[in-house]
């Protein structure tokens, strides 16, 4: 066959699994036409452990700890989603104090996730000092979590029927004090993200996803809301969210900048929600007694920092469950990610992958 040098070259570039941008092994096969991405194929399974199968070896009370370890970043939410499903099946009524504490911790976890993401995003476009600053602030959030739960990334405070650990009024006082300082410091960092011309030049108009496509592809979380779809599962009012005042944060551009903006606004929203939780914190017990075994099935939807997560539990009346399934936000966002990568420059791919806030260990479980 005669070689036609004028034809554009098609090449496949493997992206990952080990690469400097992300600590996690994500793998994509990028089909390139010169420097433009024509198509991307995801390949997952580097972190696949098969933890859903462990329900056969651990009973439903022990499994909280496994469910939580699906991911070290969204750990609190995974534990909470799982116990919520079991509690619903067993028809347990959780004390209000436990509900408010869970909500407070979920919001603190959202703050640490979003600050972490801001840092990684800064790292992806080569702003090292901004990365360090974000992670310095994140440590303050971890301090609050460590003060109240005892853990920095894995908390293990949830159990079926409530919580393992209570907090003291002094701790809550301390959280309020830390939040005030943190908010001021965060403003400096987030103003850089939203106003610095270098940052803007990397993010404005890059990786646009239209609302219609975002809905069609089943995207969720900040990725969806940045495309102008107003949907936040916290509005369903699970745990104590029904008693708190907040509105989903939306942005309409659908580009990397919009996603950044949504997460930044959510960071401040979370601070506000934590304050609301503490102001309304009821007294009383933190757990109810659990007897018997779950029998039935239920699916819980909660809003993780990265989007809507589903926890499906099918129990059979013994201590061991039939099925636990966790559909994590990143899993739903992968088709959306591939859509945004198409037509992008190769150099922007790393940053676009980051803007969905991928969590590979969640995705592969």
């Amino acid at each position: 066959m005669a070689v036609n040098n004028n034809a554009k070259k098609i090449s496949v570039v493997p992206f990952g699994p080990q690469h400097p941008v992300l600590p996690e092994p994500i793998h994509l096969d990028l089909v390139l036409k010169d420097e433009k991405v024509v198509y991307a194929l995801p390949s997952i399974g580097f972190v696949h452990r098969g933890l859903e199968k462990l329900v056969e070896k651990r009973d439903y009370e022990q499994f909280v700890l496994i469910a939580e370890r699906t991911c070290g970043i969204c750990s609190f939410g995974h534990g909470m989603g799982y116990v919520e499903a079991i509690e619903k099946i067993m028809n347990l009524d959780i004390p209000p104090r436990a509900k408010f504490l869970r909500t407070m911790w979920a919001e603190l976890a959202r703050m640490h996730n979003h600050l972490m993401w801001l840092g990684l995003q800064a790292d992806a476009f080569g702003f090292e000092s901004l990365f360090m600053e974000c992670w310095r602030l994140r440590e303050k959030v971890l301090d609050m979590l460590e003060l109240t739960t005892g853990g920095r990334v894995i908390f293990s405070v949830n159990k079926v029927g409530g919580l393992r650990k209570d907090v003291t009024p002094e701790m809550l006082e301390q959280i309020l004090k830390t939040l005030d300082g943190l908010e001021k410091e965060c403003r400096v960092v987030t103003d850089t993200f939203l106003g610095d011309p270098d940052v803007l030049s990397r993010m404005k108009g890059v990786g646009v996803l239209t609302p219609g496509r975002a809905e069609e592809l089943g995207c969720c979380g900040p990725f969806l809301r940045a495309s102008g779809v107003k949907r936040d599962c916290r509005q369903l009012g699970y745990e104590a969210y029904g008693e708190l005042k907040f509105e989903p944060i939306v942005s309409y551009d659908g580009d990397c900048y919009a996603r950044c903006l949504v997460r930044i606004e959510e960071l401040y929203q979370s601070m506000d929600l934590v304050r609301q939780c503490i102001a309304k914190m009821p007294g009383g017990d933190i757990a109810v007694k659990v007897t018997g075994n779950p029998n039935g099935e239920y699916m819980v939807r909660i809003e993780q920092p990265r989007g809507e997560a589903l926890y499906y539990v099918k129990a059979n009346g013994t201590r061991y469950l039939t099925r636990y399934r966790n559909r994590t936000p990143t899993y739903a966002n992968i088709p959306g990610l591939i859509e945004t990568i198409k037509g992008a420059e190769l150099a922007d791919v790393a940053m676009m992958i980051l803007t969905i806030d991928p969590c590979i260990s969640c995705t592969e479980r």
């Binding site: 600590p23 370890r69 970043i73 260990s361």
Partner: protein, 165 residues
């Protein structure tokens, strides 16, 4: 304490839950600042002296881990961060987990914890540096870097037999 030159770190996430990964990253950031020892987190195995692995090894990433290890120049040390990297942790019974990192490459320092705290990760890395120095001395004398010969003891799925050490 004498810190050896400026050792660079290669970090790979085996099948970790991310908990240890973000703690490894956190230990390089201002609060803990691993970088004050001259340690830099690099993405290139050929630049690295210390190999930090988080999470257990599964059938998919076994080759990746071995390949990264073989690409690192001698002398090199391996630090297994977190209980999963040490022996499989809570995921030990999962069908897709082979076990700790020492099933596929030799490990010099074990840092347990779920998740391992940044303090203990730094402690583990500093311990690894002492081992790195020892290996370097051995190489200067014309010996192989490792004192003991490491043998691989993988159990393949389905086979009950375990290879002898």
């Amino acid at each position: 304490m004498k810190i050896s030159k400026s050792p660079w770190i290669l970090h790979y996430d085996g099948s970790s839950c991310n908990g240890c990964d973000i703690e490894v990253l956190a230990s390089t950031t201002p609060r803990y600042d691993l970088e004050r020892f001259g340690i830099i987190n690099t993405g290139d195995p050929k630049h690295a002296d210390v190999f930090l692995i988080t999470g257990g090894v599964n059938y998919q990433n076994r080759d990746v881990v071995q390949q990264l290890y073989s690409q690192m120049p001698d002398p090199k040390v391996v630090v297994a961060v977190g209980i999963c990297a040490c022996d499989g942790g809570v995921f030990k019974d999962c069908y897709n987990i082979i076990g700790g990192v020492d099933k596929v490459i030799p490990v010099d320092v074990y840092v347990p914890g779920c998740a391992a705290r940044p303090e203990s990760i730094i402690d583990g890395v500093v311990k690894a540096l002492a081992i790195l120095d020892k290996k370097r001395e051995r190489m200067a004398q014309g010996l192989v870097p490792d004192e003991k010969v490491w043998t691989n003891t993988i159990v393949r799925p389905g086979s009950q037999e375990k290879q002898e050490d």
